[in-house]
Amino acid sequence: MIERMSVAVGARGWLGRWRAENQGLIEEWRRSLYRFRQSRLSVLGVAIIIFLLFVAFTGRYWVPYPDDAGFTTHVEIRLQGPSRDNLFGTDEYGRDVFTRTVWATQTSLIAGTLIVLLGGSIGIVLGGIAGYFGGRVNEVIMRLTDIMLAMPGIFLALAITAALGPSILHAMLALSITWWPGYCRLVQAQVLSIREEDYVEAARGIGASRPRIIFNHILPNCLSAIMVKASMDFGFAVLSLAALGFIGVGAQPPIPEWGAMISKGREFLPYGWWYSTFPGIAMFLTVFGFNILGDGFRDVLDPRARR
């Protein structure tokens, strides 16, 4: 304790101060990073994700036919197989499937992030409140969670998107609504055990306010569990959004989105295999990347699974 305080005094600037205050945390992260790098599969996951991020955010500047991401038609080259001009072939309007597949990466990554962020924050806030305050508040929130968990997600999401009208925004909203209960239950359980820890008791004794205790002392200690779940969830969020797109209640034309593209390509399957195949491969790669990353995260952060 004395050592930590002297470091805190000696450090300069907010970064130094932050470092000094969170020495233990930084040390823990450093060890985790080391363990993470030991697993070849996780490193492959990181590589895939970096590649995807690159494709998603620079794609629009180097795709061969940027106009094909919208409503354009080149009837003379409709449904052509892969060639040098159109690496992944063309669709029913003669648009370049390669361009649209690359473009859709951005759609999916942003949508997946928003779903996990929105669903996750609702769940974290509700779970935090339920776990910290306990009693009747806890009962009400957790019973609501039970009810939401009792409904298989896609059916609920389907009902919500159908009610709101098919669009990618509504699909994202619907998925976020079905997504939060998992986080709520996770955070509630974590908070329940953490709030009895000595350091929380100490903070309370000094007279720290409730929000301060929740946000500065309890939630940061739930972070690793939340991170594991979020990284495992991201792939599922991308898949679910594509599933809604495939059914027809998600992304609407002309937005390039993998699920919607696969669904459209289904009509031309016997003689236009490339139309559905390439978006599917791109989606598989994305979800696979995030899943092996999540698997690696879990190995690092969850001691029980580390064997």
Partner: protein, 331 residues
Amino acid sequence: MLRRLLLIIPVFIGLSIVTFVISHMVPGDPVRLAAGPQATAEQILKLEEEFGLDKPLPVQYLNYMRGLFKGDLGISMMNRHPVAMDLRRYFPATLELVLVSTVLGVVIGVPMAMAAAVFRDRWPDQVSRIVALSSISMPVFWLGMILQLILGMTWHLLPISGRFDPRVPFPPNVTGMLLVDSLLAADLHKFGIALKYMALPAFCQALFGIALITRLLRADILEVMERDFVIMARASGLPERVILFKYVLKNALIATVAMLGFLFGWQLSGSVMIETVFDWPGVGLYAVNSAMTLDFMPIMGITLFVGLVFTIVNLLVDISYGVIDPRIRYG
């Protein structure tokens, strides 16, 4: 146990409120849609009256609940069928698909988990890990289409869609599950047909279960293997085979059984996609068709029904969990 059973009631009421609220926030006008583009204002009013849509929302909800207790889930606005009747017709198809895929998941997943645990960190472990991770990353609707293209359209090995050969009459209806019905009728030919139609959808549906069981069971087997009684058995000179099957597997399987309820719910969700791809006439396809036409009585009925089925299955799993592991029952 009774307490768990009673918990179904609030969950059911909660489910009904949630589904009711969702299906009544429809900004599109389902009545206008159902009445058709040429409908006059008078016809629309009459239709609204017929479905009780002119009453205030709480009254509508109470009417709906009153119907529920009589097993009445309302009437579809599109085809005028009672929703309960349609559900009874479509659910066996979904249940059959889910049950077969669960069995597939166990039959493939358990040996894979055992191989992975026994040959830990060697190639069977690596292979099973990659197979499991790829299976959960696979967009099943896409995989289904690719399999249709290769196995169905190119090689003509398997039928690509539907539940049964349209040229052959169905086996006599007992359970509504074609595999069971054809066996009951002792009709192996029809059983074979039903099995052929089942193959692709069940395989796609099973992938997630295979992956889940493989990963979970592997970790549990490894954990049980380090327990004292296993070391004791090994020290007593019992053959490895006996240790694995008689002592380790039995203890390790408990968590897997507990997870079957979750898997069931997951596969019910998955049926939405699988049934769309394979044109499988079950609850999932029914839900999609109703959602596309904003037919909200079926949407409500399906969500409620599926939620209830899921809750009951979870309860059954919890009970069987206590039967398998007496420590939980008496603990």
